[in-house]
């Protein structure tokens, strides 16, 4: 159902024409749903805000469903930025107060009861909150954001609230998950543990499906790799060409391995700081120290970023560290604090979803492990970690990940009736590793 795209031409014009078609289907289409696949940084939020404003402009009321409270707060802020007059209702749980920044917006009404927000043309809340809303008139329109991260059962709880909906999301990011077994429903079209979009399309096969063709976040150095590794059949390109984005340092490198990795990353967009092969605990102290050292040097060396938005210093707020596990993120935060670094985000892939930074430092999910489990191999995890940056991404890893992958081919049972996700994490991991190997700096702490 995905319309073929021409690879040439002005990226902005191509993106605009896709957006026009999406809006036409949303506003005037005959089908109850429209699905939009968006690769990392392709302007998903911009699309959501624009669709919301056009729907309101056409005299409609709509509800917006996002997955987390921070996503909801971000959306509300963006709506207010674009249209300060627009009356937006922010529906929230009774024990989860919205961000204070949202509460200050003049046209935004906060409430924990949907009834109080009846006069707002746009009401935004998390799927979890919407699930408790009952006895209100049905909305004619809804926008479901991050629909690929929404679980099918969450959609089941809220789908009765709206007549038709625009589903927007990134199919390459982390799949929804459950901590209890759900094998007994594998292969059913409404498997409650599957993603909402999978269920929606299984039951409504003819829905119009669009794809945003241009990533405005990823630089020209990153888009080809991320596209080939994680979206092999639905390629996208970067909005900026080579040379538009530049990262440089005011202070020359001191010749150490971390500095050389930074220089390579500034030059090529990618860096791999490789520690000696070793099996370690999850919070590998040497790898964590290497990550913290990299960040410290990155800030100390006075980075300057040049992009289509202008020139500016690389500040701590524009740097993030991504890990697979929460304890790793906590260890990195502690190591950063020890080195006096503040303001740098260090978090797991799950929490970095949808966020954007200038430079990211990634602790490779398979670094130092003795096995490669489905969790660590998940395609979406690596995709999130390697697609958050506007300029450069430096990966820190123990040597031997390629061998580890070869020793652990995917052994998940094949379930009848389940669409096979392609590429699998194994293949995507190899693709990324092969590319990173060209930007490797060996490091012996």
């Amino acid at each position: 159902m995905i319309a073929p795209e021409r690879e040439d031409g002005d990226p902005a014009a191509r993106a605009a024409s896709v957006t026009e078609r999406i809006l036409a289907d949303t506003l005037h289409g005959t089908r109850r749903g429209v699905v939009v696949d968006s690769p990392p940084g392709a302007g998903k939020s911009t699309l959501v805000v624009r669709a919301a404003r056009e729907l309101v402009g056409a005299g409609e009321r709509l509800m917006i469903v996002a997955q987390t409270n921070s996503q909801v707060d971000d959306l509300v802020k963006r709506l207010a930025e674009q249209d300060p007059e627009l009356a937006v209702g922010r529906l929230h749980g009774s024990d989860s107060q919205p961000d204070p920044g949202v509460a200050r917006l003049p046209a935004v009404t906060l409430s924990s009861s949907a009834g109080d927000l009846a006069q707002c043309p746009v009401v935004v809340a998390t799927a979890a909150k919407w699930a408790f809303v009952q006895d209100v008139p049905v909305w004619r329109h809804a926008i479901v954001d991050e629909a690929y991260q929404m679980r099918s059962d969450a959609l089941l709880k809220v789908a009765g609230l709206f007549e038709r909906a625009l589903f927007v999301g990134d199919p390459g990011q982390l799949d929804p998950f459950t901590v209890v077994g759900a094998e007994q429903w594998a292969g059913l079209s409404y498997d409650p543990s599957a993603s909402a979009v999978v269920t929606l399309l299984a039951h409504n096969p003819g829905l119009p499906q669009h794809r945003l063709p241009v990533s405005w976040r990823l630089p020209a150095t990153a888009a080809p790799l991320v596209s080939a590794a994680f979206y092999p059949y639905t390629p996208f390109r970067s909005g900026t060409g080579h040379g538009v984005r530049r990262l440089s340092f005011g202070v020359a490198g001191d010749g150490s391995a971390p500095d050389r990795a930074l220089d390579i990353a500034a030059e090529s967009g990618w860096g791999l700081l490789e520690l000696p092969r070793r099996r370690t605990v999850r919070t590998d102290p040497e790898a964590v120290a290497a990550v913290a050292t990299l960040v410290r040097r990155l800030l100390d060396r006075g980075g300057v970023t040049v992009s289509e938005r202008g020139t500016g210093p690389l500040t701590a707020e524009r740097v993030a560290v991504g890990t697979a596990h929460r304890d790793q993120a906590a260890a990195v935060r502690a190591a950063l604090a020890e080195r006096g670094v503040t303001g740098v985000t260090a978090d797991t892939a799950n929490r970095l979803q949808g966020r954007e930074y200038d430079v990211t430092v990634v602790l490779h999910p398979l670094s130092g492990r003795s096995d490669a489990t489905a969790f660590h191999l998940e395609t979406g995890r690596l995709c999130v970690l390697t697609s958050r940056h506007r300029h450069a991404c430096v990966v820190v890893s123990r040597a031997g990940v390629a061998e580890l992958l070869d020793e652990h081919p995917s052994t998940e049972p094949v379930q009848l009736g389940v669409t096979v996700r392609f590429p699998d994490g194994w293949e995507a991991n190899h693709a990324v590793l092969a590319h990173l190997a060209e930007h490797r700096v060996r490091y012996r702490p």
Binding site: F132, L156, A159, T178, W185, Y190, P192, L200, N204
Partner: protein, 507 residues
């Protein structure tokens, strides 16, 4: 982390290490033990079973020719005869409880009287494969036709067979709920409470698992487990046959196949021989199951086990009511709403189980503390503070000295156990070795906090970042309101037709 450490320690000491200090599952006084065996190469063809509630007098059921459908259903009819009285034994002994439920007409929450069975009969199998086998037996019998269903049915079964299938299906389905205790595997119980020096997969071998838990004097668990797994007698048969349902292929080929062939040939005494052979494979497992149970009963029972067992009793009562109301057997596939409801309920139960186990057991809590999800320490100081507003409420600040490293940020909610319920607090400040929290509830209605609701300096406390009794999830729409995204309401409930006959049924 603690589990890995316990495994390493077990490997070093040659003896299983305890993972818990208490028993985290309900074990009734009279559980029924069911040790099934299945036929190699044919799905759902039982070979035999030992079943009973008394260690000394199990009932032996054997199918002398497992490929013979008549004999198979004779076996299932006999199994129903033994099992059904046990499974329905709790149905008539009820308590009446008041429950708040939604009135279907007005939507208001009203109090209604509901019967709940005082006890629910338990079923125990040796291992997880046994649990799956119970599910399979339920699936293969609950749609069987009886002569009353269809007088023209060529192979009618007694009505107790589909009834048994419904009960087994319910028990097997309930077993997928974390922490439920209607149907339990002994390997599951033992490996929850002890860590051995072998892999989780190897722990599925009941004999090997018990060899680690009670190693013989000569040699440690590893040697004993290896002997249990591999030692064979002069005929080439294992001294300790697998705990089923699969049999040892050597046994199948060398002794069972010739004996069944003799039965097929109609030789005298052949049935007796097959029975003896099957019993020889079942007996050791039967003994191991009881040995494992005896070991588990030595543990004191966790404080919150009874509260969780109540959900099992409600589950049991619910199924009893559905059977009494003449509802059809469970459908082959769940509809969209039922599937979602089950998944969500299981997730809530998993969170509840994890929280309860940690609160009941310092060893399990230690695991959560190591993971940064809880911290324990000594109260250093308490500073009485009040909330703002017209009627200020006590909001004391409690500083806790701790050696734990919790993953907490200011503003996070934490909980501690206080007189059987959870007291909530908000994290104010976290620094190495010290956490300051502000207590936010359960301090009474007055300006002064109620007696005992605020800790004093020197008290030992344990706060968790997980809730102690997770709240139930958001409601789902009724199945007839399944939305368009999920295929709309399930088609007009076609009465569940029995399984169609296939060529295989007439082999």
């Amino acid at each position: 982390m603690i589990r890995t450490l316990a495994r390493v320690q077990a490997l070093r000491s040659g003896r299983a290490e305890p993972l818990t200090t208490v028993l985290h599952r309900h074990l009734g006084e009279r559980p029924m033990v069911f040790v099934p065996l299945t036929t190699a190469g044919e799905v759902g063809a039982p070979l035999g079973a030992l079943v009973g509630t008394d260690r000394d007098s199990p009932r032996l059921l054997v199918v002398p020719q497992p490929r013979d459908r008549d004999l198979r259903f004779a076996f299932l009819a006999e199994l129903a005869e033994v099992m059904l009285p046990h499974l329905v034994s709790g149905a008539d002994d009820v308590d009446v409880e008041l429950r708040k439920e939604k009135d279907p007409q007005t939507g208001a929450r009203v109090e209604v009287q509901r019967e709940v069975c005082r006890d629910a009969p338990q079923l125990l199998v040796p291992n997880e494969a046994g649990v799956r086998y119970v599910r399979l037996l339920g699936r293969s019998t609950r749609f069987r036709r009886t002569a009353e269903d269809d007088p023209a049915e060529p192979f009618p079964v007694p009505s107790r067979v589909p009834l048994l299938g419904r009960w087994l299906t319910h028990y097997a389905e309930r077993a997928l709920t974390p922490g439920s205790c209607l149907l339990l595997s002994v390997t599951g119980l033992l490996s929850r409470h002890w860590a051995t020096g072998q892999s989780a997969l190897e722990d599925q071998h009941l004999g090997a698992l018990l060899a680690w838990i009670d190693p013989p004097r000569d040699g440690g668990g590893a040697v004993a487990a290896a002997r249990v797994e591999t030692a064979r007698d002069e005929r080439g048969l294992l001294y300790c046959p697998p705990a089923g349902p699969a049999t040892d292929p050597e046994f199948d080929n060398r002794v069972l196949a010739p004996a069944v062939a003799r039965f097929d040939a109609g030789l005298p005494g052949a049935e007796r021989l097959v029975r003896d052979l099957v019993e020889s494979q079942l007996r050791p497992t039967w003994e191991l199951v009881w040995q494992g149970l005896a070991r588990l009963r030595e543990l004191p029972v966790g404080g919150r086990v009874a509260a969780r067992w109540e959900s099992d009793r409600w589950s049991y009562t619910g199924h009893r009511d559905r059977v009494l109301a003449g509802e059809p057997p469970q459908p082959r596939r769940d509809d969209a709403v039922t599937a979602a409801a089950k998944l969500v309920r299981r997730e809530v139960e998993q969170a509840r189980l994890d929280a309860h186990e940690a609160l009941d057991d310092p060893l399990v809590m230690a695991e959560r503390r190591l993971a940064g999800e809880a911290f324990a320490g000594v109260v250093e100081s308490v500073e009485l503070a009040y909330s703002e507003g017209r009627a200020p409420r006590p909001r004391p600040l409690v500083s806790v000295r701790t050696e734990d490293v919790p993953h907490l940020e200011p503003g996070a909610r934490v909980f501690r156990a206080l007189a059987g319920a959870a007291q909530e607090a908000q994290v104010v400040q976290v620094e190495p070795g010290l956490v300051v929290v502000r207590l936010t509830n359960r301090m009474g209605r007055g300006r002064e906090p109620a007696e005992g609701s605020v800790p004093a300096p020197g008290d030992r406390l344990c706060f968790t970042s997980f809730e102690h009794d997770p709240r139930p999830a958001a409601p789902l729409p009724p199945p007839e309101e399944t939305p368009w995204t999920h295929g709309g309401p399930p088609g007009d409930a076609t009465p569940l037709s029995p399984d169609p006959h296939t060529a295989e049924d007439f082999l």
